[in-house]
């Protein structure tokens, strides 16, 4: 019996590729940081890619003219290293014959991959790098689906201005490229809005004791706080501002409060706002792809965890590419690039449109971040969307000093 089984197995292996060749497929290449310091955020983005692929394939694939194509992935671990990214993207294009590319996670790795995408003329959808600089270098094949770093806090500033036109802001942030870009832009926007920045200071990303910084915030007489960087520093800052009774009327922290773990801070989390690329409560009316509810429910049902914005942005990279391919009715790079240039569509992730001028080509110009706030409802501490008002799930609480 055993030899027969083995023979059957071998025969199946030989025959299967012949069948597989019959169904057409599109290959999308990317690298993910499965090891190295960017692992956590990159994993979210990769889950989004994979979930999109499985959904599309289960519905028959991408429609190109009158044919349907299954989506296949070719992917590697970039170890969070820029040099490795270029080697692997070259391989994806040349050996794995990727038709299209997704970006790695983070601005630095995206910039490295963008060189290869441009060199070989392959479209790359960027859902993991928010820096604008790679888009100012004349790339014709790079398209960003998320809001760029320069606009992370613009919603927070607009909302704050509405509540207090003379607010004094303390800006304290991690000394890393992303946070610095976000806060430098926020500073400009605050000045334009007529708000005063009374403190502007960065701290080393490894800082664990914010005591002296919080004292400085208190003595600066600021009403509002904007800053932070990544998870651990942002969460510690929020807790220490609460413990030292910083008496702020407004707190906006980057990244950390967008994680559900932030609720563990209890009362210290209350009132804290966070700019978010996407929240499950946001209810855009999609012209293409699933609704927010469909997306969030299906993801949770399949992976037994809630989708965060890295998952949603990864999924959106797929949705936007699919939209462009179907609109172009072709897999030809230049035709799809043209369709992307003309893209003006609302998805569950929000409105997507790319800059067409050569100076910022491919930069996202329509998608807006929402502002979420941790609030207590029915005895439970949870994130609510408070800005823009058109997308809100609860009213913005201001001032928040009741809890602080």
């Amino acid at each position: 019996m055993k030899p027969f089984c083995a023979l059957l197995a071998v025969a199946t292996m030989i025959v299967t590729p012949a069948f597989a060749a019959d169904t057409s497929s599109i290959t999308i290449g990317f690298t993910a940081s499965r090891t190295g310091p960017l692992n956590v955020d990159s994993t979210g983005q990769e889950r989004g890619f994979e979930f999109w692929r499985d959904e599309v394939n289960s519905k028959g694939g991408i429609q190109v003219g009158d044919k349907r194509y299954q989506v296949k992935f070719a992917s590697y671990d970039d170890q969070s290293v820029g040099g490795r990214v270029q080697q692997l993207y070259t391989r994806l294009v040349n050996q794995d014959k990727a038709d299209f590319l997704f970006s790695p996670y983070s601005s630095g790795l995206t910039a490295a991959a963008a060189v290869i995408s441009e060199q070989y003329g392959k479209i790359m959808i960027d859902s993991g790098g928010a820096e604008e600089k790679p888009f100012q270098l004349g790339s014709k094949h790079l398209f960003m689906v998320i809001t760029s770093a320069g606009h992370y806090l613009s919603g927070a500033i607009a909302a704050l201005k509405e509540k207090n036109p003379h607010a004094k802001i303390a800006m304290v942030y991690s000394d890393d490229p992303f946070s610095k870009t976000v806060l430098a832009a926020a500073k400009e926007q605050a000045k334009e809005a007529g708000l005063e920045v009374v403190m502007d200071e960065s701290y080393a990303p490894s800082t664990t004791d914010f005591g002296p910084i919080v004292n400085k915030i208190i003595s600066s007489n600021a009403d509002a706080f904007m800053g932070g960087g990544h998870y651990s520093d942002g969460a510690t800052l929020a807790r220490q501002m609460y413990d030292q009774k910083a008496n702020l009327k407004w707190i906006s922290i980057l990244v950390a409060p967008a994680d559900d773990k932030f609720s563990e801070l209890g009362a210290a989390a209350l009132g804290v706002t966070v700019p978010s690329q996407w929240e499950p409560q946001v209810n855009y009316k999609p012209q293409f792809g699933p609704t927010t509810e469909e997306f969030a429910k299906a993801f949770e049902a399949k992976l037994h965890q809630k989708a965060d914005y890295h998952v949603a942005s990864g999924y959106t990279a797929g949705v936007v590419l699919q939209h462009a391919i179907e609109k172009a009715g072709s897999l030809d790079t230049e035709k799809v690039a043209k369709a992307l240039d003309q893209t003006d569509v609302t998805t569950f992730f929000g409105h997507i449109k790319f800059a067409a001028d050569p100076k910022h080509h491919g930069l996202q110009v329509a998608h807006e971040m929402v502002l979420a706030q941790w609030q207590k409802a029915n005895g439970e501490v949870a994130r609510q969307v408070v800005w823009p008002t058109s997308a809100k799930s609860a009213d913005l609480i201001y001032p928040i000093n009741a809890g602080h």
């Binding site: 090891t35 671990d77 290293v81 490795r84």
Partner: protein
């Protein structure tokens, strides 16, 4: 004089193979992998001048690579220097700077020196992170326009590749030339017993400072080439201590003090990692496999691969330096 020895021709043959391989069939993928191999070989053989010859462990050797990258990228992006001027300029600047650093920290020995080199790397990184002309912690982005004189980015990358191979070749020739020179003999004496060497008339402070400076030159140039190719440089990539440590592991793996061993170690290390990374079977536990292999080599071949080869085939010692 060098040209009369067989080892000179071995290096030349290796260079020729590196130069021809990816050109056959326009294999860009092989080229990408060889670029990283050439980078590792250059870094490891220059580290070997300090580690293998003079016996000084430099944990922060990556600082030269990073600074070279920064100087080069900055000259190109801010002052529009042509690449062929910016690259050697980076080498010269960093080498001069290394001479200054060296005069300071080479008064230390053993573990103190090793710690000081980490300190130099961390200090320089902190400085760059706060140095706004170099983009602070955001770094510098380059436009593909810099490759225009070569006919666009696609051709530019070939130019970078051949330059990388040339620099790798220079590193090997240099390591070999130093090894067979009086200067090299002095360094080896310092490595054996610094005090005895000084008593015997080796100008130890001068030799140490010189070798520190020389070992900075080619890594700075290769840093320039590497970051021009990436079109992007930021402090976290430029001063990554992991790379420093890897280079030390490579030198020990191949056989410190030998030219062939270090080059072979670097090449095999990179090829192995590249294979594990892209292989479907191993991609999920590549680091485990690499770790186990390293352990096996350290346990069974403590004097590196070359030590093993020399023991098994004593005659090779006359040919492979």
């Amino acid at each position: 004089m060098l040209a009369r020895r067989p080892f000179f021709w071995i290096i030349t043959a290796v260079l020729a193979v590196f130069a021809i391989l990816p050109v056959l069939g326009n294999n860009v993928e092989l080229r990408e992998s060889l670029i990283i191999a050439a980078l590792y070989i250059t870094l490891a053989s220059n580290l070997n001048l300090m580690l293998g010859y003079a016996g000084y462990i430099n944990f922060g050797s990556i600082v030269f690579f990073g600074l070279g990258g920064y100087v080069c990228v900055w000259l190109v992006s801010a002052y529009a220097w042509p690449l062929y001027a910016a690259i050697p300029a980076a080498g010269i600047c960093v080498s001069a700077l290394a001479l200054l650093f060296g005069l300071g920290i080479l008064r230390l020995r053993g573990a103190f020196f090793a710690l000081a080199t980490i300190g130099v790397n961390e200090g320089v990184q902190a400085f760059v992170e706060n140095f706004s002309p170099w983009g602070g912690s955001s770094g510098i982005y380059l436009s593909p326009i810099i490759f225009k004189p070569f006919g666009g980015p696609a051709q530019g990358l070939w130019v970078i590749y051949f330059s990388m191979v040339a620099v790798m070749g220079l590193s090997l020739y240099l390591s070999y030339a130093i090894k067979v020179s009086k200067f090299g003999l002095g360094l080896l004496a310092i490595g054996q017993n610094e005090d005895a060497a000084a008593i015997l008339g080796v100008p130890t402070p001068l030799y140490k400072a010189l070798v520190y400076s020389v070992s900075a030159f080619l890594p700075a140039i290769v840093g320039g080439l590497y970051f021009l190719k990436s079109s992007f440089i930021q402090p976290a990539d430029a001063f990554d201590l992991t790379l420093s440590t890897e280079v030390i592991v490579i030198a020990m793996l191949g056989g410190q003090g030998t030219v062939t061993g270090v080059a072979l170690g670097a090449y095999l290390y990179e090829e192995l990692r590249g294979f594990l990374l892209t292989s479907e079977t191993f991609s999920h536990f590549q680091l485990v496999v690499a770790g186990v292999l390293l352990l096996v080599i350290v346990l069974f071949f403590p004097s590196g691969m070359m030590g093993f080869v020399y023991r098994q085939f004593p005659r090779t010692q006359k040919v492979l330096e």
